[in-house]
C-alpha cells in the first residue's frame, strides 16, 4: 500500500507545472477556441457569430497588410540573420589576440534589448539628424527617410535584425567548438581548401544548430512585438501582425477578432515549423556517433 503511494511521489514535485498547464494552457486554449467564434468586447456577454471573424479578417486590408509585412520581414530577416550570425561565429572562432574583447562587443546585442534599444533605433534612423544618414553623407549618399517612408521601413527592420546577429552567434560558436579537429585534419591531408572544408564539414556539422535557429527565428519573427510597437513605421504601412492583434484586443476591445488572428498566427507558425521539420532529413545532419553522449557540457567550460 505504502509502496503504491510512493510510486506517485514524483507528482508532488511536478504538480505546480501540471496545475499551471491546465490553468494557463489547456483551459485558455479551449476558451480561445470558443472566443474566436464570438463577437465580444469582454465586458458584455459574448455573441456567437460562427466563422464571421475569420471571414472578415480575410477581407480586412489592415490584416492582410500586417500579414504581408510580417511575411516579408521574416523572409529577409531570418536568412540574413542566420548567415550573419554564422559568419561572425566562424570568424570569432579563429584564435587571434584580443578575440575575447571582440566576442564581447559582438554579442552585446544579445544583452541589451527592450524599449531602450527600440528608441535608440528611432533616433539613429532619424532622417535629418540620425547617425546612419550622417555616416551615409560621408560617402555622398543622402539617406532615405527610413521609418517614415513605406519603401524603407522594412529594410530598416531587417537592418536592426542584422545588427542583432552578433547576439545570435553564440549557439553557432558552441557548435563550431564541438566539431572534432580530426575531421579538418584528415580533410587537409586530402588537400581540401577552406571552402571545401566549410561546405563539407562545417556546414553539415552545424546543420542542427542552423535548424534550431531557423525554427526559433520563424517563431520570433511572427511574434515580433516590442520594437514594432515602439517604432511603428510609416503610419500603418509597416504594422506588424502582433501589433495589429494587440490593437484589436486592447485598443478596440475586439476580443473575438483578435483571438481569430491569434489562431491564424498559430496555424501559420505550426505549418512553417512542420515544413522545416519535414524537410530536415534532407539537410540536417546528426552526428550521434561523433558526440560522446552527454559529455558536451564539460567542454564548454574551457572557453
Amino acid at each position: 500500500m505504502k509502496k503504491n503511494i510512493k510510486k506517485y511521489e514524483g507528482y508532488i514535485f511536478i504538480l505546480p507545472w501540471i496545475l499551471g498547464f491546465f490553468i494557463f494552457t489547456i483551459f485558455p486554449i479551449g476558451f480561445a477556441f470558443y472566443i474566436g467564434f464570438t463577437d465580444w468586447n469582454s465586458f458584455t456577454e459574448p455573441k456567437f457569430i460562427g466563422l464571421d471573424n475569420y471571414i472578415s479578417l480575410f477581407k480586412d486590408p489592415n490584416f492582410l497588410n500586417s500579414l504581408k509585412v510580417t511575411v516579408i520581414y521574416a523572409a529577409f530577416a531570418i536568412p540574413l540573420g542566420i548567415v550573419s550570425s554564422l559568419l561572425i561565429a566562424v570568424i570569432v572562432n579563429v584564435k587571434v589576440k584580443g578575440i575575447y574583447l571582440f566576442r564581447t562587443a559582438l554579442y552585446l546585442p544579445a544583452v541589451v534589448s527592450g524599449v531602450s534599444i527600440a528608441l535608440l533605433w528611432r533616433w539613429i534612423l532619424d532622417p535629418d539628424y540620425g547617425l546612419i544618414n550622417f555616416l551615409l553623407s560621408y560617402i555622398g549618399i543622402s539617406g532615405p527617410n527610413w521609418l517614415g517612408d513605406p519603401a524603407w521601413v522594412l529594410p530598416s527592420y531587417v537592418m536592426m535584425a542584422i545588427w542583432g546577429a552578433g547576439g545570435g552567434m553564440l549557439t553557432y560558436l558552441a557548435g563550431l567548438q564541438d566539431i572534432p579537429r580530426s575531421l579538418y585534419e584528415s580533410a587537409e591531408i586530402d588537400g581540401a581548401g577552406w571552402w571545401t572544408k566549410f561546405r563539407h564539414i562545417t556546414l553539415p556539422m552545424l546543420s542542427p544548430v542552423i535548424f534550431y535557429n531557423l525554427v526559433m527565428g520563424i517563431i520570433g519573427a511572427f511574434r515580433k512585438f516590442n520594437d514594432a510597437y515602439i517604432i511603428g513605421g510609416a503610419g500603418n504601412q509597416a504594422q506588424f501582425y502582433m501589433v495589429y492583434l494587440y490593437e484589436n484586443a486592447f485598443n478596440f476591445y475586439k476580443m473575438g477578432y483578435a483571438t481569430a488572428m491569434a489562431w491564424i498566427l498559430f496555424i501559420i507558425i505550426l505549418l512553417l515549423t512542420l515544413l522545416v521539420f519535414k524537410t530536415s532529413p534532407l539537410w540536417v545532419f546528426y552526428s550521434g556517433e561523433l558526440e560522446n553522449g552527454k559529455k558536451k557540457k564539460t567542454k564548454n567550460k574551457s572557453r
Binding site: I14, Y107, G114, T171, N213, L265, K297, N300
Partner: protein, 282 residues
Amino acid sequence: MPSLTITQRKRIQTIFVYLFLIVSSTATVLPLLWMISTSLKSGSVIFQIPPQWFPDSLHWENYQRAITDIPFFLYLKNTVIITFFRMIAEVFVSALVAYGFARFDFPGKNIWFMILLSTIMLPGEITMIPVFIMFSKLGWINTFKPLIVPAFFGGQAVFVFLLRQFFLTIPRELEEAALMDGASRWQIFYKIFLPLSKPALVTIALFSFQGSWNDLLGPLMYLNDSNKFTLQLGLAMFNGMTKVEWGPLMAASLLVLLPTLVLFFSLQKYFVEGISITGIKG
C-alpha cells in the same frame, strides 16, 4: 598565379580576420556609443551637423530630467518588485519540476515530459487573450498579480528542460548515501541538488531577469494606472510625448539598460554558457 607560402597565407588570413572583426564590432558598438554621446548633449548640439561625438560640455542634467520627467524611482520600484518575485518563482519552481522529472519514476512521466516539451513551441499569443479575460474577471487588472502569479505555476518550460538536463549529470551516489541516512526526497532536493546546481540556477535567474525586466507586452496589457507602470512602460510613454527630446530620452534609456549591463558583465560566464546551450536571447 603566384604561390604563397604557408606563413604568408596565414598572415593574410589574420589580416582579413582582424578587418572583419574591427568592422563588425564597430558597427555593433557604435549605436551604443551614440546613445551615450546623445545622452550628454544639450538640445541644440543634438541637432548639429556634423554631429559631435564628444560634446564640448557634458549635460548631465539630461539624467536629472530622465529621473524627474517620469517618476523614475517609482517605476524602478515597480519593475524590481515584479522582476524579483518572478525570478524567485521561475527559478525555484522550475528547479522543483525539473527535479521531479530528473529523479522520479512515476506512471505517465514520459507523456508529461513530452507535453512539457511541446509547450515550449506553443506561441503564447493563443492563450494571451483568454488569460487576460480570466485575470480581469478576478479583478486583477492594474495589479502586479497577473505578471507574477503564473510564474509560480511551473516556472518556464524551457527552464525546466534545461535544469532537468543539468540534474541528470549529478551522480546518483550522493543522494543514495543521503537516502540511507534517512533524508527525505525534499531534503535531497533542497540540500544537495540546489547547492550543486548553482551555475545552472544563476544562468536561469539571469534569463528570467532579462525576460521580466524587458517585458513590454505584459505590463502594457495589465497595468493602466500610471502609478503602476514599469520602466519599459514608462520609457514607452516618454516616447509618446509630443516633442521628442533625444537627450533626456537617451539618458533614460541608458539608465534602464544599466542593471542588465552590470549583471551581464559581472556574470558574463553564466550568460554566455546559457546562451550557447539554449539559444535564448532577448
